[in-house]
């Protein structure tokens, strides 16, 4: 029994930490897809860029970990603005195939560019002392870094909830997701909203990328390797839904961890089986609009 409880706690904890990472990276994708109707497969590339900006800041400029994490998010958010302005905007009205081709092309270009500057190997950073080793939370001893990841994830969720539910900009975004033409006709500057949301989503992805270095590792193929997971979170959660992305990330994070823990031979099988199951029952995702 004690063994069982121990296993359950480990699975829950690691699963939630993984889920937070998935959530932080994917939520931006979910919102931009919901708002702009743009299938941005290059979203993971912004996460990857965040990871590499962070590595450069820490290793080349000696910026401390936490500051580097924040800076990476801000820098990538700024970098993403011209992308939205000059590349993505042209294809908002285009078909999905064109959008997919453009964004997957960006992924390959990002992979090649990063390989050129940083080489093909995985890069790693050294996290500060207080994030190394274990931490006692009162009800158990847990890896410090994952505890930190969960904390960041929770803070982000509260901030996102507040931003979307309690601010004017949030209300405008929700309005634009629900009905873009109506929002435009009552005087909401949807173009500006697009830039803000895109930059914000990319910045969040970069934050997730920065956090992921220590957990998933960071290599030039990051954007492609984890693309499937980001898309699963968005598809299972439903486009444009923060709550949906959160629940989907939790379900997938915990199930993936449980699968690996309880039945390692099954490998990554579980996460796909669950995804197919959910989408068969609810094709629009858990919280998507039918």
């Amino acid at each position: 029994m004690e063994q069982f409880a121990k296993a359950a706690i480990s699975i829950l904890f690691d699963g939630v930490a993984y889920a937070m990472l998935l959530f932080i990276i994917s939520v931006g994708l979910s919102i931009t897809m919901g708002l702009m109707g743009f299938a941005n497969l290059a979203h993971g590339a912004f996460a990857m860029l965040g990871g590499y900006v962070m590595v450069s800041l820490m290793l080349k400029a000696g910026v401390p970990f936490l500051l580097a994490l924040v800076l990476a998010a801000i820098i990538v958010a700024l970098i993403s603005v011209p992308f939205e302005r000059y590349l993505y905007r042209r294809l908002y009205k285009a078909g999905e195939l064109d959008q997919v081709l453009l964004s997957i092309g960006l992924v390959f270009m990002a992979t090649a560019t990063i390989t050129f500057f940083f080489g093909p190997s995985t890069v790693s950073i050294s996290v500060p002392e207080f994030l190394k080793g274990q931490v006692n939370l009162g009800f158990g001893i847990f890896p410090a870094y994952r505890t930190f990841t969960i904390a960041v994830g929770l803070v982000m969720i509260v901030a996102l909830w507040y931003g979307f539910e309690r601010t004017i900009t949030g209300a405008k975004i929700r309005a634009a997701v629900d009905n873009r033409r109506m929002a435009q006709s009552i005087g909401i500057d949807v173009d500006r909203l697009f830039v803000i949301t895109f930059a914000f989503g990319s910045g969040l992805a970069a934050l997730g990328g920065g956090l992921a270095i220590e957990i998933l590792g960071m290599s030039p193929t990051f954007a492609l390797t984890y693309l499937v997971f980001f898309l699963i979170v968005v598809a299972v959660g439903g486009l444009g839904s923060i709550r949906g992305a959160f629940v989907a990330a939790l379900v997938l994070g915990i199930i993936d961890t449980a699968g690996k823990y309880l039945w390692p031979d099954g490998g990554a099988f579980f996460i796909y089986a669950v995804t197919i199951g959910i989408l068969l029952i609810k094709p629009e995702g858990l919280f998507g609009k039918a």
């Binding site: 063994q3 093909p120 190997s121 995985t122 870094y145 998933l216 290599s219 193929t221 390692p264 490998g267």
Partner: protein
């Protein structure tokens, strides 16, 4: 007298001309990962080969060599096989070498047999690879060179009664698992569980697997992951779960304490015990000269690792085979030349076993220590001249 001298001179001249006419150009097909996540291995081996060539221009018996390089990219086997096919049929290479990943060597083996092209393997360590073709010789190692002695050592010297195994789920991973299990159980230990931990291409999040092992509380935790990026993640996960504090010893083949990755590891790497055949920290004059030459050639912040040495030794083996056959390289001739070939390698004395065409070398017990602010390998024990235990004991596919 004068005439005699003249005659001598003419003869010498003829001899020289004949010698020149006999000098052959030997085409060597090199199949290595030059791009993608495994490019670091390709670079190591490439540098090892080139270092040998630049140091030993005379070792090829006056013959020219031409390296034709092909990128095998990933471990899947398909790309390497295509490359080998092209090298044999279009480029008409006399010799094949390289091969970092076992599946790539396995997929290429039938082509070596059909095309009668000898293959000198510079890394791929799955034990039964040389059985796949009579024209394969290996200068690197087998998973059993490390795994089997590690099993015995873990039980007899480290005092581990129980062990858990975590391995990357592809042929050398399973091979390493079998090697350790055989050694450990023969010595009287008990393997609690063996956990497959994803494929070789991407570094997974190891936490769920390690958490399972942490809760199972074995005395030793034996890990096989492919050399490179996986190993740093392994030690980081081990550290972040505090498994050392639970008294679980982290052990494995030397792939997980690769020289090029040691400095990236957290301090919990200290005390790790691995069994391997090479580290740049080996304190022998031969190795010191080798490491110095390496750093002179490629920069002070580079270091050779076991792959670099395999590239170096592999080129030495190829040079020997070419010279022994006066540049007319055949598959049978190469295997004959390499059979019983010995060499004073930076790793110590090595020999190609005439029976199995596989390498014989010392397996050393490595301990990770911290010295002058850098992680280092210290050799704490040596098992001399190990013949691949898999073939020696005729286990499984090793016949």
């Amino acid at each position: 007298m004068k005439i005699h001298k003249l005659l001598l001179g003419v003869t010498a001249l003829f001899g020289l001309m004949a010698g020149q006419a006999m000098a052959e150009t030997v085409k060597i097909g090199v199949v290595l990962p030059y791009s993608g996540g495994a490019a670091q291995f390709g670079e190591q081996i490439d540098r090892g080969m080139n270092l040998f060539i630049s140091q030993n221009k005379d070792a090829f018996g006056g013959n020219e060599i031409e390296l034709i390089k092909r990128d095998s990219k990933r471990p899947g086997g398909d790309i390497a096989k295509n490359a080998v096919q092209e090298l044999i049929t279009r480029e008409k290479v006399n010799l094949l070498t390289g091969f970092v990943f076992s599946p790539n060597a396995m997929a290429s083996a039938p082509l070596a047999t059909q095309g009668k092209v000898p293959m000198v393997i510079m890394n791929a360590g799955t034990a039964w690879i040389p059985s796949l073709s009579p024209y394969i010789a290996r200068v690197s190692f087998t998973m059993w060179h490390a795994g089997y002695p590690m099993g015995e050592y873990a039980h007899n010297k480290l005092g581990c009664k129980t062990a858990a195994i975590g391995f990357t789920d592809y042929p050398p991973g399973k091979d390493s698992r079998n090697a350790f299990t055989t050694g450990f159980e023969k010595a009287g230990g008990k393997v609690l569980e063996a956990i497959p931990m994803g494929g070789p291409r991407e570094v997974p999040d190891f936490t769920p697997f390690f958490q399972r092992v942490k809760n199972a509380k074995p005395d030793c935790f034996y890990i096989f992951v492919p050399a490179g990026n996986h190993s740093v993640a392994v030690v980081k996960t081990y550290a972040s779960l505090g498994m050392g504090d639970d008294g679980i010893k982290l052990i494995g083949p030397g792939d997980i304490t690769q020289d090029t990755k040691l400095q990236d590891m957290p301090k919990e790497a200290e005390g790790m015990i691995t069994v391997h055949h090479y580290s740049a920290d080996y304190d022998t004059p031969r190795n010191k000269a080798f490491v110095k030459a390496w750093k002179d050639a490629y920069g002070a912040d580079t270091t050779p690792d076991f792959m670099g040495v395999a590239g170096y030794d592999g080129m030495a083996a190829i040079a020997h085979a070419i010279t022994a056959q006066s540049g007319k390289v055949t598959a049978e001739g190469t295997m004959k030349a390499l059979s019983g070939w010995t060499y004073d390698s930076p790793r110590g004395k090595i020999m190609i076993d005439p029976e199995t065409r596989d390498i014989i070398h010392d397996s050393n017990v490595h301990k990770v220590v911290s010295k002058d602010g850098r992680m280092m390998i210290e050799v704490i024990d040596t098992i001399p001249q190990v013949k691949d235990p898999c073939k020696a004991n005729k286990i499984g596919k090793c016949k």
